[in-house]
């Protein structure tokens, strides 16, 4: 799963899951996930994905208020301008976050955080980064696919 790097242009595409900041007021004809990076939203019943910027800072709050089965997402875009030392620490945090997700029945999500096409990351590059984080890519993608299917099964959508 990755952010495609551009805003919704009004035309619904098949096989695309849209990211929304809040729950739609009516049924939609597209699949969506509700995303937030506000820590207060972690306990909300409508939240699908919480974006983790700094796991060390939010770990205690997550342990207290986290709903099961939500996605905890980390993005790579912010790392492009940081030095090697910070990136090393980030990889350490990711390993800790992954273990936390496993123990708390949440889904770990790695995404590019792309805001443009050039910032997108290929699937093979994702696999390389997952291996550095000591995460098996095959297992990651399988779990992510199951989580995504499970998330969408609970919702009703308008069909053409």
């Amino acid at each position: 799963m990755d952010i495609l790097g551009y805003e919704f242009n009004g035309i619904v595409q098949d096989h695309v899951v849209y990211r929304l900041n809040k729950k739609p007021s009516a049924l939609t004809n597209y699949r969506y996930l509700i995303v937030s990076e506000r820590i207060d939203d972690v306990s909300s019943p409508w939240l699908d994905i919480f974006i983790v910027r700094d796991f060390n800072r939010v770990e205690k709050v997550l342990k207290r208020n986290l709903k099961k089965k939500i996605g905890l997402e980390v993005t790579l875009s912010g790392l492009r301008k940081t030095d090697g030392l910070q990136i090393g620490k980030w990889f350490n945090q990711i390993r800790e976050l992954y273990k936390f997700c496993e123990s708390s029945s949440c889904q770990f999500i790695l995404s590019s955080g792309a805001n443009s096409l050039l910032e997108m990351i290929s699937g093979r590059s994702f696999d390389a980064i997952l291996k550095i984080c000591d995460i098996k890519p095959e297992r990651y993608w399988l779990e992510l696919e199951e989580w995504l299917a499970n998330r969408n099964e609970r919702r009703c959508f308008l069909t053409a």
Binding site: L76, R80, L117, S122, R124, I129, I132
Partner: protein, 86 residues
């Protein structure tokens, strides 16, 4: 071509920063001639592939890996097909 050399040097430098200077040298990153203006072809050792891919994903300015192959001939053919579609 000189700008592509600069980009390659930036990738090598970033690779060294992330994975160490010895690992960067062992990666054997090399620039291969590409006739397509905005596309660089880079070769590396197979055992260094994961590190090189991670480096490209974590470098600024951002760059995108569009294709990979073990054969230069196949890669050039596929790149020509991509640019035709674009």
């Amino acid at each position: 071509m000189s700008s592509k050399i600069d980009v390659l040097e930036a990738v090598i430098k970033r690779n060294a920063e992330l994975f160490g200077y010895i690992a960067a040298q062992k990666s054997s990153l090399r620039l291969i001639r590409s006739d397509i203006e905005d596309i660089m072809i880079v070769s590396c050792k197979l055992e260094a592939l994961d590190r090189v891919l991670s480096t490209v994903a974590l470098i600024y300015p951002p760059m995108l890996v569009t294709d990979m192959s073990g054969s230069l001939k196949r890669l050039r053919r596929r790149l020509n097909e991509i640019t035709l579609i674009v």
